[in-house]
């Protein structure tokens, strides 16, 4: 034993005892490692898939086929080279090798597989096309077409797409033979799970990341103001012309694209406003109101007493503010429509674009005066904000007011109720519900709801921005001059359903990860009871195991608070195969404080075994139609009477069912919001393989609200702003009053 000799270790094992130990070490072998042959072959297969994916990623033939012609030609050339090299390679390999037939697919074992792609199965040697195609079995039942590219078989659903939310099992049976007649030694199956269907309301595109470079376009100087830094501004109704005051009080006009300045009034103008129709311009000058009609160029004068200080429009009528109240021009001359307080220092700061309200300051407090109600109305006057609140602007429709309070801006209704808080800045509210926030140093854009961080549009000086009616162009002031630029459109607001979907996904993902705390955080008190003792399991254990989930259907069923309803399907898997599933119906309500959705109610459904006929995998509910997507191609003849909608009394609704590409569309409906309906799929429905569904499938539905309900609106003024108003300027500066 001590005769151990290793030249490499001679210099370090000079002691007999050391050599003896080394001898023992060299003699002893640990127990044989237990080896699962399935692991060895499985890992090899996995490696080969990876290798093929790498190889195919270089020249994917079907991608080339769908590419623009120029790319296709380049792809074709590359493909020829690849084909040629493969032919040569196979010619070299054929005589002694390739004794076993392997197949692989890049999507084997994958989840979230795109719906718009063929199933590619690659073989390690040339195959006999006919026998291989005949040996293909697909679950769920799917009509397919085949094509070949060298040794790769493309299995294409004839409907054009794969079914969503579906586990496919594609088996190549032992009937498949190589070109030389060698059969597969055993059937081989690839499995994969497809992604959900495209969202009916695409999620909002990401907002631009704040950047040091400007997101504005067309920025240029329009005109020098001649001695003043800012000015009241009015845009023409068609956004082509800008009216402003120069440093001497002259009312001027300049084309928005730049050009010669025109003179409206040479001096003494303090306030001006364009009529909603855009045909007249009223301005206060030398204690009187002059009204210019653009069509004929004539000017009329109104000489009210007391003298006007601020002018505006209520539809086609001129209104103005004087020291003691708000007036309009009646049949017999000026008439007061609302008095101003007789105490304190009172200053009218702005008339709303619709002429329905006026904002005034009494000492240090800001008030809104309702011009449309009678003088004795209880809500004739409302204080806006706390002391020292300062008027900033109106919403385009005149239904909301912006004011500054300390270091923030506040959006308020006309009764002083705060609707949202925004960062501070010199603000302008566009017809597209975007608010520009200008300052000495930068320009931001934000939604009125303030739920999403403001987007920085540019660095630099952007004083008193004023949107054009088109909601794209705006003017601003910099260095004693008026400038113009075009701002990028804001991404669409997320809907309530978008927000709720995020909460549902987070909730289900936490459960899938067995993170009870994370899931519980998305439950309100009622929801916690639903998943409490004796209720639904929050963390799902056991075999078959919970491996995936998807949203079967989703609806907005109420507002104030926003309430959404989701049916989520939980899929249970044994080994690699999905074997059963069940549904949970979740009701989510937007929390009044945090504005986040929480699960308020949850109801579980029965378990169903999979692999026993067609399954419903997606249901899209609209007031006039319900689209039911299946995982299998159906026998069209069995569809018309097999998929129906019942009302709450169990009576079948009169509707038309049509079938195309695995989807049954039930149209001609008039689902009432909040009413209960039931989708019924009868066992008479069968797939193209002739298998009927195992048992009747029922899914309760709620009559939905209209799609794309805005997510973040709230309160009585929640309706979207009306179309662009010709009177775009929402504010007048105190200096102009």
């Amino acid at each position: 034993m001590s005769s151990y000799h290793d030249p490499e270790l001679e210099d370090i094992l000079q002691d007999d005892e050391l050599r003896r130990v080394a001898s023992l070490l060299s003699l002893v072998r640990p127990p044989e490692a237990p080896l699962d042959d399935a692991f060895r072959t499985g890992l090899r297969r996995q490696l080969m898939q990876q290798a093929w994916a790498v190889s195919e990623g270089r020249t994917s033939w079907w991608r080339r086929a769908f590419a623009p012609p120029g790319i296709a030609w380049a792809g074709a050339a590359a493909g020829l080279v690849l084909i040629a090299s493969l032919v040569v390679w196979y010619a070299v390999q054929q005589p002694g090798g390739l004794t076993q037939v392997y197949l692989q697919s890049a999507i084997d074992g994958k989840t979230n597989v795109s719906l718009q792609q063929p199933i590619l199965v690659s073989f390690n040697q040339p195959m006999d096309h006919r026998s291989t195609q005949d040996a293909v079995q697909i679950t769920p039942a799917t009509n397919v077409a085949y094509s070949w590219d060298v040794n790769t078989l493309a299995v294409l659903p004839t409907s054009g797409n794969l079914a969503p939310n579906t586990q496919y099992q594609v088996t190549i049976g032992t009937g498949a033979k190589t070109a030389s007649g060698q059969p597969l030694t055993s059937a081989q199956t690839i499995t994969f799970v497809t992604q959900p269907p495209p969202s009916p309301s695409p999620p909002p595109s990401p907002r631009p990341t704040p950047t040091s470079s400007s997101l504005l376009t067309g920025e240029k100087q329009l005109v020098s103001l001649g001695g003043t830094n800012t000015s009241p501004v009015q845009w023409s109704a068609d956004s082509s012309t800008v009216y402003y005051l120069d440093g001497k009080g002259a009312l001027d006009v300049v084309p928005a694209k730049g050009g010669a300045v025109g003179l409206i009034a040479p001096d003494g103008v303090s306030s001006f406003a364009i009529s909603p129709a855009g045909d007249r311009l009223a301005y206060v000058r030398a204690g009187k109101i002059e009204v210019l009609t653009f069509a004929d160029g004539k000017t009329e004068e109104i000489r009210p007493t007391p003298a006007p200080v601020l002018v505006g429009w209520a539809k086609d009528k001129i209104i103005w503010a004087a020291s003691d109240g708000i007036y309009n021009q009646g049949a017999n001359g000026p008439a007061q429509i609302a008095p101003l307080p007789a105490t304190g220092v009172v200053t009218v700061v702005s008339i709303a674009p619709d002429g329905g309200h006026a904002a005034y300051k009494q000492d240090q407090n800001l008030f809104v005066l309702d011009l449309a109600t009678s003088p004795n109305s209880p809500n004739k006057t409302a204080q806006i904000g706390q002391a020292a609140a300062a008027f900033v602007g109106w919403s385009p429709g005149g239904s909301e007011i912006l004011y500054s309070a300390g270091d923030k801006l506040v959006v308020s209704d006309m009764l002083g109720t705060t609707l949202s808080n925004l960062p501070s800045g010199e603000a302008s509210w566009s017809s597209q519900d975007a608010i520009l926030l200008g300052s000495d140093t930068d320009l931001y854009q934000v939604r009125p709801d303030g739920n999403v961080a403001a987007t920085k549009l540019a660095n630099g000086t952007y004083h008193v921005p004023q949107w054009a009616p088109n909601g794209a162009s705006f003017v601003f002031f910099r260095g004693g001059a008026m400038w113009t630029a075009v701002a990028p459109a804001m991404p669409p607001e997320p809907t309530a359903l978008d927000d709720a979907t995020k909460a549902v996904i987070a909730f289900m993902q936490a459960r899938l990860n067995a993170q009870a705390d994370g899931a519980t955080a998305l439950l309100d008190d009622q929801g916690k009871k639903a998943y409490g003792d004796g209720g639904l399991p929050l963390v799902i254990k056991g075999d078959p195991r919970f491996t995936r989930f998807y949203v079967l259907t989703q609806e907005t069923v109420a507002t104030q608070p926003d309430t959404t309803r989701f049916v989520v399907r939980l899929v249970l898997t044994r080994g690699k195969i999905d074997v059963s599933e069940y549904e949970e119906t979740l009701t989510l309500v937007r929390d009044a404080t945090t504005r986040s959705f929480l699960v308020d109610q949850a109801v579980g459904g029965p378990h169903r075994d999979l692999g026993k006929g067609a399954e419903v995998v997606s249901v899209d509910v609209a007031p006039d139609a319900v689209k039911v997507s299946f995982d299998s191609d159906l026998d069209p003849g069995a569809v018309a009477d097999g998929v129906v909608i019942l009302n709450s009394k169990g009576k079948q609704l009169d509707a038309t069912a049509t079938y195309l590409n695995r989807t049954v569309t039930i149209s001609g409906l008039d689902l009432k919001p909040g009413d209960i309906y039931r989708l019924v799929v009868l066992p008479t429905v069968r797939d193209v393989s002739g298998h009927n569904i195992a048992a009747e499938y029922d899914l309760d539905l709620v009559g939905p609200l209209a799609k794309n309900h805005p997510a973040n609106k709230q309160g009585p003024n929640a309706t979207p702003s009306p179309s662009p108003s010709p009177t775009a300027s929402p504010s007048a500066s105190p200096a102009a009053a």
Partner: protein
């Protein structure tokens, strides 16, 4: 004269570098030894499978960057394995007790007596398991995997001298502790 086995391996490597789909031949050639080595270190079948998968996946991915330095391809695979095992040990200790793995006890007779009993030969590895990680790895690669010092150096990312030092220290420590070995009665 060139080593036919090395020439063949070199050819396999070059083919796999040109076409990843040829990696299967290298896998077939080296799977058993890598798996055995990994299993001997993690002592749990599932963990051994995980680490072995990781080793070959990493190898496949890194094939384009592999450079033949004259050392066996296996040395490179062992290097990946050593690192993968080290990563695993950072977060997970072996779950199977040593006694279960080797069916051994640390109590035993002196070396001569121990050598006289075939079953008890393996008990020496119990002492190996108690060595510091680097010494243990060096001894396993040398005496269990029969690797050359230079190849072990590649696998462990060390110089040949450093590997020799590790082996010397490991064997010396085993010698010192061998007297405490007692047979299982």
């Amino acid at each position: 004269m060139s080593d036919p086995s090395r020439d063949e391996e070199r050819e396999l490597v070059e083919r796999a570098q040109r076409d990843p789909r040829q990696f299967g031949a290298l896998y077939d050639r080296h799977f058993q030894q890598i798996y055995r080595f990994v299993y001997s270190r993690v002592r749990e079948q599932t963990a051994a499978e995980d680490v072995t998968s990781e080793v070959f996946m990493k190898a496949l991915k890194a094939m384009p960057r592999y450079q033949d330095t004259g050392r066996p391809f296996a040395a490179w695979l062992y290097q990946i394995a050593v690192n993968a095992i080290a990563d695993r040990y950072r977060t997970l200790r072996p779950s199977q007790p040593l006694e279960d793995f080797h069916d051994l006890s640390v109590a035993g007779p002196a070396l001569e007596d121990l050598a006289a009993h075939r079953d008890e030969l393996r008990r020496i590895w119990t002492l190996v398991e108690a060595l510091p990680h680097q010494q243990r790895t060096a001894l396993v690669l040398k005496f269990q995997e029969d690797m050359k010092i230079d190849d072990i150096a590649v696998a462990m990312g060390k110089s040949a001298g450093a590997v020799k030092l590790l082996i010397h220290r490991g064997v010396t420590r085993l010698r010192d502790e061998a007297t405490s070995l007692r047979p299982v009665e």
